[in-house]
Amino acid sequence: MTAALETQALGKRYGSQWALRDCTLEIPRGSVTALVGPNGAGKTTLLRMAVGLTSPSEGSVRVLGLDPEADAGDALPRVGFLAQEHPLFGGFTVAEMLRVGRELNPGWDDDAARARIAELGLPLKKKVRSLSGGQRAQVALTLALAKRPDVLLLDEPVASLDPLARREFLQSVLEAVAERGLTVVLSSHILAELERVCDHLVILAVGRTQLVGSIDEIVSSHRLLTGPRDAAEDVARLHEVVRESHADRQTTLLVHANGHVYDSRWTVHELDLEEIVLAYLGQDAARRREEAVA
């Protein structure tokens, strides 16, 4: 079976600036993936290319095996997309927004859409403009879900929401995943709020993919080692060192381990996901500082 989302050396340049570069990843069907990276890492660009809003400058992107631009007619009905600012037609009522969904999507599930709106207690006759941010996000999500997509792409879906609305929104996404078994990719610059709902992780940094995998794998393959400074090179030969810090005699290494670490000179600690992600993002920040100096 083809992957839900697959990119090959994907890159996008605006003028002389690369928004995303050399991005290769594969997101399996049925997964819920967090796309994490600092602001400007190219998360939005990646998701927009996946739904055909933006053309790649190099490399390729496939959604369910289809080219989002060339095969737009086949790909679009199967991909749901929610842009960061939850765009809706401000002057339309909620009922009219549902009609938009019905008119523009052959696979539209009107009963489900109406049921969802009723469940959320949103008045059909109210103008979208007068809804709260959380309510608008829910209407936008309803539109994306009632289209009955196989893949749902959410760009910073909860960034603009208050904590309660965040919880409700993510709960809605989880329910849809449970009901329909769809693939979800959500981007965020904060991991904490996504960890609860995701089983896969992609870290984007300096516009490049840094890490792709299931969260279980990622957690089990990263270790924190403390040991003598002169042994650090031996470790680097076998494992990928993500971050290192040196004290007088002791060195601390955060490694992406290639199997077990069998060296008795090192003390091995387990890490939680947040520490791992921070290490990657810290590495990214250091690299950016170097680039800025250079």
Binding site: Y14, R48, V51, G52, L53, T54, S55, A72, G73, L76, P77, V79, G80, F81, A83, E85, P87, L88, F89, G90, F92, E96, R99, V100, G101, E103, L104, N105, P106, G107, A140, L143, K147
Partner: protein, 317 residues
């Protein structure tokens, strides 16, 4: 998609309809009145004829038809086709500006179809509105055209109003996709529309086909220029060169008899490089040719601009 296009363009369509209804409300009664008076006052006999009696009859007729035609003469109504065209571009530009295109383009329809439907709707409405505008004034002008010819209200009649609305629509769309903000885009586009119209009307139009010119003796009746578009007319010598002397020549050439002033001596006037009239004009028979050229010009540029906007939107990231 058709429902969505209509729903998003509803306000602009209603504004357009309202404008046309106001115009029709003013000009239909006035037009009926003008046609009735035309028959009652037997103005038809003066069509294409120059005489003092007819001068009075026509003057009287124009006065009795009311003030509306004077308003039309002032040229302000030329702004309306532009207003309609620019207004009809707003829904698309606002969609692009507010980012709501990203909502439309991530439903199940392709971007190509979205553009085709939205533009088709705007162009269709603009053409219809331009056509209604033209029908209203072409009908209203029927009696006046019998006196003055078609040239008189060239901008309001037949094909060109449709081209003007398309031109304004194309301008607003093209400027809008380039500067990406709808309010300034509409203002800039409207400014260009007015400038373009003024340029064509005051400079380009008369040069589209080399005008005819004629020189005739002041005493002869001369050619009938009643239904022609007279671009310029001035006193001249026999060769058609403008008269450059002083008004003193009139005193010198005046012939007086027992009853006072009898007229000017033609021989004397000719000696002083006068005595003729030179006219540069486009004959009535060229009206349709000019309508065709100007329609092609404005509609062509308008459609090119619309195509440019579509291409930009299709490629937009």
């Amino acid at each position: 998609m058709i429902w969505l296009s209509w729903r998003q363009q509803r306000i602009e369509t209603l504004i357009t309809a309202l404008l046309l209804v106001i115009l029709a409300g003013a000009f239909i009664p006035a037009g009926i009145h003008a046609a009735d008076l035309f028959a009652q006052q037997h103005v038809a006999r003066c069509a294409n004829r120059q005489s003092q009696a007819c001068g009075f009859a026509v003057g009287n007729y124009i006065l009795s038809t009311g003030v509306l035609r004077g308003l039309l003469d002032s040229g302000w109504f030329n702004l309306i086709p532009g207003l309609i065209g620019v207004a009809l571009a707003t829904p698309i530009l606002q969609d692009l500006e507010n980012g709501t295109v990203r909502l439309a383009w991530t439903q199940s329809i392709t971007r190509r179809r979205w553009i085709a439907t939205k533009l088709g709707f705007a162009v269709g409405t603009a053409v219809l509105a331009g056509a209604l505008f033209s029908v209203l004034f072409t009908w209203y002008e029927v009696p006046f055209d019998r006196i003055f010819g078609h040239w008189d209200k060239f901008d309001f009649e037949w094909f060109v109003p449709v081209a003007y609305t398309l031109f304004a629509l194309g301008l607003a769309l093209a400027v809008g996709v380039v500067i990406r903000r709808s309010a300034p885009a509409l203002v800039v586009a409207y400014g260009i529309y007015v400038a373009g119209r003024v340029f064509v009307e005051s400079w380009l139009r008369q040069r589209l086909i080399t005008p005819l010119s004629v020189t005739f003796g002041s005493r002869s009746a001369g050619p009938n220029l009643n239904n022609a578009w007279v671009i310029t007319q001035y006193p001249s010598n026999k060769a058609g060169h403008p008269f450059v002397g002083t008004p003193g020549v009139f005193q010198e050439c005046a012939q007086t008899g027992s009853k006072g002033f009898k007229g000017l001596s033609q021989a004397c006037m000719e000696r002083h490089g006068a005595g003729f009239t030179h006219a540069v004009y486009q004959p009535a028979s060229r009206f349709w040719e000019f309508q065709g050229i100007e329609f092609a010009l404005f509609a062509g540029v308008g459609l090119l601009l619309i195509a440019f906007a579509a291409w930009r939107v299709l490629r937009a990231d």
